[in-house]
């Protein structure tokens, strides 16, 4: 907010606001008209791309360049594909709130339709990974939990921890928790490699294997705490803390009572 208020007094603020408002009205109109009037899918598609381009120019071009060619602080988006846009915008990582170490998951700024338009626009620049369809994401049918667990421990656990709780990377970056993440976004992250994450090619980890990984993550998410409170599922650190504080703590409390003289 501070940053915003600084720009508010800029001499170009007034005209910029006017342009933005006009663009906003125009876009809203075009979205409304696009959904009601378009007849053929081809027209539909080109309208959607145009719509995405407008959103892009407004919301993304300041960092990613007017033609998505990238800039000083942001990478080129040519060839990243619709899946990448859907992941980054759909999970709220883009647009970034501030230029900190890593884009965080947050409430998305654009709704589903705007995200789809943006994705269509970026996909139109150059071919890239596509958004998986619902039928592709039937992990309950196509996945195998145990195999997924093995793949997860081989390819994911080193960053996201054995139970998908996330973990630390260098210089303050981190692998986020995988709990509560939409299967579509997990899949998109695997094929596009957002931020620090590498790409997991379909040839080295097949789409069926990716379904297994998702199935295992969903099983871990749903798994009740079999032995009591989970303590965050981060291993021995929290266990040691609890042993000292609660375990030895109660025992010292009782010991004080034991050695106190009764009245």
């Amino acid at each position: 907010m501070k940053r915003l208020s600084r720009y508010r007094r800029h001499k170009a603020a007034g005209p910029m606001l006017l342009i933005l408002a006009l663009l906003g009205i125009g876009t809203t109109f075009s979205i409304a008209s696009a959904t009601t009037t378009s007849q053929t899918s081809k027209v539909d598609r080109s309208v959607q791309i145009e719509e995405g381009r407008q959103i892009f120019l407004r919301g993304c071009s300041s960092c990613h360049g007017l033609n998505a060619e990238g800039g000083q602080i942001a990478p080129s988006l040519i060839g990243v594909g619709a899946a990448s846009v859907d992941f980054q915008v759909g999970t709220g990582r883009m647009p970034m709130a501030d230029m900190s170490t890593q884009a965080m998951r947050k409430a998305p700024l654009y709704d589903a339709q705007e995200t789809a338009a943006l994705a269509a626009y970026v996909a139109s620049l150059a071919p890239g990974p596509e958004i998986p369809s619902d039928s592709q994401l039937n992990y309950e049918r196509d996945g195998n939990t145990a195999q997924g667990g093995e793949l997860f421990r081989n390819n994911c656990a080193m960053c996201h921890n054995f139970a998908g709780q996330g973990g630390a990377l260098t210089q303050g970056k981190y692998a986020p928790t995988l709990m509560g993440v939409d299967p579509k976004y997990i899949y998109e992250a695997l094929i596009t490699g957002p931020q620090s994450m590498p790409v997991f090619s379909d040839k080295t980890i097949t789409p069926a294997e990716k379904m297994s990984i998702i199935k295992w993550i969903k099983a871990a998410e749903k798994e009740p705490n079999l032995g009591g409170a989970s303590l965050g599922r981060v291993g021995p650190v929290t266990e040691g803390l609890l042993g000292w504080i609660l375990g030895l703590g109660i025992l010292i409390g009782v010991a004080v009572w034991l050695a106190m003289k009764a009245r």
Binding site: N154, A163, G227, G228
Partner: protein, 527 residues
């Protein structure tokens, strides 16, 4: 027949066959001083008993073998995977044996509490000076028990052969492998060939359930017999002297309290095991050297060691076709070796510095031994900094820090903070001594203001009780050793440098605020 007469019959029966009456009558009346801090060792003792009981339960189903099996048990997310029989049987204990998971958790929580209680007990003994003559031997046994506990705990953590424990063994193997000259041989002997092989878990199983528990039993017996024979130390106070021990007789009061406390310890450990998950091995997965989890940590009592290894500088010596890994040897063996040797020898070092060879049965209040207390605070700071670095990745993600920041902070902190802790603690102790002196001489501040005839306001001080005054002045304040560089005949004494060091340390050790005496009180009365 009443219970009393029944027990009398038993006593008769025993004495007619053993002649134990003389010994028993004395020892049933044995006096134990009562203080909460004296129960920390008991927590450790009872945790050990609980470890024996729960551990025996686990052995009924645990299969200590690295033979490869296909999992066909009830936990679906691992169905059909290849794993060792050790891991599969641990899963079996957790999911198919009723109460098995509970007993596994009891065993693991008891191990954590065992180690915490040992450390807390050690700190109590250290800070109160309970290790002084005649108890130096028992202190060394205690250090032995601590060391065994760390090893025994690590072996137990390694047995289930899950991904986390396998990673721990992998690191242990790297430490063995790094030993100069013999490293690769010892590693091959320990593992029966290349890591991980199929021999290690069966071997450490025997050590974990037979050899080390046997050593524990022997050392604990010696530890307790010495406590019994030498009688317990006591805190200073009115009526308590070096020549007596004030407390409750073993039968019945102390027996009921100590016996009851065993059930308390067991109950608390069972409570933790009921409500808090520990070592959920089914989530870790079976061990294979190609896999790893973020945040791979040892249990807390090894955490400081892991923290030291993490912060070590990247040093290796490459010469004449050989490699020496200082980045492993220094934090993994040399520093812990120095720490534990120093700890074991501390009673002798302190007595050398003070020149005090007398018996001590009255404990010190930590403030009255500022040097020792400061040294303890310094060591504790070192360990805590190392321990923090052992969990740096978890701390980084939970407190929005970076592992690099924590690493650099602890790399410097481990060298800079302990001396600072020493200085602050020593000053703090001396201030507390000064406060004690003020309290004895001028009494307690009542908060009531009094207006003197000439208009000045003063606060009314209320004299403290004679008991309190005695407690605050009961300690000795021995002067520093006088070690002249030349002897009576003007001849220079041998070992001049050693003597110089000794008298320097002795002077530092004797630094104190002179305690209040009757003379001081009289002087105040004169005014």
């Amino acid at each position: 027949m009443t219970i009393e007469s029944g027990l009398g019959t038993v006593a008769n029966y025993v004495d007619e066959r053993t002649g134990a009456a003389a010994w028993m009558k004395k020892n049933l009346q044995k006096v134990f001083p009562d203080h909460w801090s004296f129960l920390l060792g008991e927590v450790a003792l009872y945790s050990f008993v609980i470890l024996l009981l729960s551990g025996t339960f686990l052995t009924f189903w645990f299969d200590p073998s690295q033979r490869e099996v296909i999992y066909d048990g009830g936990y679906q997310p691992l169905a059909g995977l290849k794993m060792s029989a050790a891991y599969a049987s641990t899963l079996h204990i957790s999911f198919e044996v009723r109460g098995g998971l509970l007993m596994r958790q009891v065993h693991h929580w008891a191990a954590l509490i065992f180690m915490s209680a040992i450390v807390a007990h050690l700190l109590r003994v250290f800070f109160t000076g309970a290790f002084r003559k005649p108890r130096e031997g028992n202190w060394i046994i205690g250090i032995g028990l601590l060391t065994l506990g760390i090893v025994e705990g690590f072996l137990g953590y390694s047995l289930p052969d899950d991904l986390l424990s396998g990673t721990g063994i992998r690191i242990a193997e790297a430490i063995i492998q790094a030993l100069p000259v013999v490293g690769s041989y010892i590693s091959y002997f320990a593992f029966g060939g290349a890591f991980p092989g199929e021999s290690f878990i069966p071997r450490i199983y025997t050590v974990h359930v037979l050899l080390l528990p046997g050593a524990f039993l022997a050392l604990i017996t010696a530890h307790l017999m010495l406590v019994w024979y030498q009688k317990h130390t006591q805190y200073p106070g009115p009526g308590r002297t070096e020549k007596n021990v004030v407390g409750y007789p073993l039968m019945p009061t102390y027996m009921a309290k100590a016996g009851g406390f065993f059930f308390i310890v067991f109950g608390v450990i069972a409570f933790l095991s009921a409500v808090a998950s520990i070592n959920p091995i089914w989530l870790y997965g079976p061990y294979t050297p190609g896999q790893i989890s973020a945040g791979s940590q040892p249990d807390w009592y090894m955490g400081w060691l892991d923290g030291l290894v993490r912060m070590a500088p990247p040093l290796e010596t490459h010469a004449l076709g050989h490699t020496i890994s200082w980045n492993i040897l220094i934090p993994g063996l040399i520093v812990p070796g120095i720490l534990f040797t120093g700890m074991a020898l501390y009673p002798f070092i302190e007595s050398w510095i003070t020149g005090d060879k007398r018996e001590h049965h009255l404990l010190d209040r930590p403030r009255n031994a500022p040097n020792r207390t400061a040294l303890g605070a310094m060591s504790l700071t070192f360990m805590l900094v190392a321990l923090i670095n052992g969990g740096n990745d978890i701390i980084a993600t939970h407190f929005s820090l970076t592992i690099n920041q924590i690493m650099w902070f602890t790399r410097f902190g481990v060298l800079i903070l302990p001396p600072i802790a020493f200085v602050i603690t020593k000053r703090l102790c001396l201030s507390l001594q000064r406060a004690d002196r003020e309290l004895v001489l001028h009494g307690r501040e009542t908060g009531t203001l009094l207006r003197l005839p000439h208009g000045e306001f003063v606060e009314v001080h209320e004299p403290i009780s004679p008991e309190k005054a005695y407690l605050l002045t009961a300690h000795e304040q021995p002067p520093a050793l006088e070690l002249p560089a030349v002897d009576a005949h003007g001849v220079k004494r041998a070992g001049g440098l050693r003597n110089k060091l000794r008298s320097r340390m002795s002077v530092a050790n004797a630094e104190a605020i002179t305690k209040a005496s009757v003379n001081d009180l009289k002087e105040i009365d004169h005014h």
